[in-house]
């Protein structure tokens, strides 16, 4: 019952998002094309690079494309369902966050789905296009496919939670500091690098940072290893652990932010 209520609220926000975009249909169309262009430029870049080499730090072309696809899938889902928490920063800046707090629904849920960017479904479509191009290069038994696909879905969910948590932590800073736009842009720049295999980076310190401090390695590389590595159960368990920690920390930061919030309108 409660679940249905939340689903219907999300669908309402998605409908509102689509309606607002359709006020300017040409602009919406260009946004969809832009999202697709971003994805295809990444594909082009990877394709051109692999014209010169068979593998980069042990990653073949098809494996690297799995990283790109996994990243686009998670990024597309995050933008589609939360628009990187525009609900927090916009409402705090405009002084209308009070209206969210008094609604008879979980504040975290409402700020998550406050803005739904419909055009970002295109990222998911580009990801599925890449899957269709490279999936034939992986050879497993039928059972192997079923098991790995199940683990892949679970690891993608973990990646989604990690990305969600990072965005929540950064956007919660707006409760204390309303000009945190730069930090938000910094997070976007850094997480965007998750579309490349993080194994190309040298130095254990850098690898540790990208795994546990800014865990972008779980947004592309780790999900892809479900299909490229035999240690896929370990990859999933590691993702689960990092996702749990990240979400726990994000909740703490968000709740602390709510406590620190002083209404702008009263």
């Amino acid at each position: 019952m409660v679940f249905n209520r939340y689903i219907s609220i999300f669908l309402l926000r998605a409908k509102a998002g689509l309606m607002s975009r359709m006020l300017h249909p040409l602009n919406f169309l260009v946004m969809v094309v832009t999202v697709a262009l971003q994805g295809f430029l990444t594909i082009l870049f990877v394709k051109v690079i692999y014209n010169y080499t068979g593998s980069i730090s042990g990653w073949t072309y098809n494996e690297a494309m799995m990283v790109v696809a996994s990243f686009l899938l998670i990024e597309g889902l995050i933008w589609f369902t939360t628009a990187q928490f525009a609900g927090i920063r916009k409402n705090i800046k405009s002084g209308s966050f009070d209206h969210i707090l008094i609604k008879p629904i979980k504040t975290l849920f409402l700020v998550s789905v406050w803005r739904v960017d419909v055009e970002d479904v295109m990222r998911v479509i580009v990801a599925l296009f890449i899957f269709s191009q490279v999936v034939g290069s992986f050879h497993f038994t039928l059972l192997g496919w079923v098991v790995r696909t199940a683990f892949y879905v679970l690891t993608i969910i973990c990646g989604y939670v990690i990305s969600y948590s990072l965005a929540l932590i950064v956007n919660s800073l707006f409760f204390w500091y309303t000009e945190a736009n730069g930090i938000n842009m910094m997070l976007e720049s850094i997480t965007r690098m998750g579309q490349y295999p993080t194994g190309i980076l040298y130095g254990n310190a850098v690898k540790f940072i990208l795994s546990f401090i800014l865990p972008i390695t779980f947004l592309g590389t780790v999900p892809a290893t479900i299909f490229t590595d035999d240690n896929y159960v370990r990859a999933f368990l590691l993702s689960l652990m990092v996702a749990t920690i990240c979400f726990g920390v994000a909740l703490k930061v968000f709740n602390a932010g709510l406590k620190a919030y002083s209404s702008a309108s009263s």
Binding site: L23, H24, L26, N27, F28, L29, V30, M31, V33, T34, L37, Q38, L41, F45, V48, I49, Y52, T53, G54, S55, I56, S57, E179, N181, G182, I183, M185, M186, L187, E188, S189, I190, R192, M193, Y196, I200, L201, Y202
Partner: protein, 270 residues
Amino acid sequence: MPQANMKKHFVVIKNAWQRQLVYRTTVYAYRLGNVVEILFQFAIWTSVYKSTSVVFGYNYNEMITYILIGWLINFMTDNYGMTDVVAKDIQTGMLSNYLVKPMSYLRYLIAMSFGRITIALFSGIVMQLFFIAIFHKQIIAPQNFVSVLVVAAIVVIGYLVRLFVSILFGLIAFWTTDIAGLNSFFSILVRFLSGGYAPLSLLPGALFSISMFFPFAYIVYFPTQLYLGKVSMTAGLRGLGIELVWLAILYLVIKIVWHQGLKRYEGVGI
């Protein structure tokens, strides 16, 4: 009279500069994101060059130099969202305030952009110099002093070309109230066609030739080629000429669009 004119421009520059000081944390955070992007580019190309010695006609040192000088030029020619500034002025009716001021809107925008970029430009240059110091063994020194001067001239004109393009896109707001999509689309396209992601020589022959007709190739790709000595001084001067022609064309187009746009302007919100 010219002194009073200069003073007006200086006040605009100073105001924009002071406003940027308020948002300096934003700029520094943005730079930190750039650091990670640049590090990833180094890592990717270093991995690629482990199995090949030449990519797009560049050896490893040339590619590292392209990345470093390319980013430096990118920082020096960026205007950090002038399209949004123009579009917002039109959409919110703020433009009406500028129409009654004793300075043309275009001049005001150019002066303001100088003030707006100061901190971003300074932090970008410092950051790139830091990277250049780290990779000093790989980075290729410029061919000669004259080529450095021509590169500097191309970069200055490139800044103005990029600024004019941004202003032109912003003026589209006279016709449509939401240009967010167009803005993102053109930002990505301009960065790609300027060689901001990778050298344009990655493009197939025909596409490469087409891209050289646009002014964007002369913002990052061309000056970096000249710096690396991959194009002759004569070609460099020709490139500078092409850029100047584009600047004049863009100026004329802005004038035409501005006058046409003003006829549609309703001063919403005033």
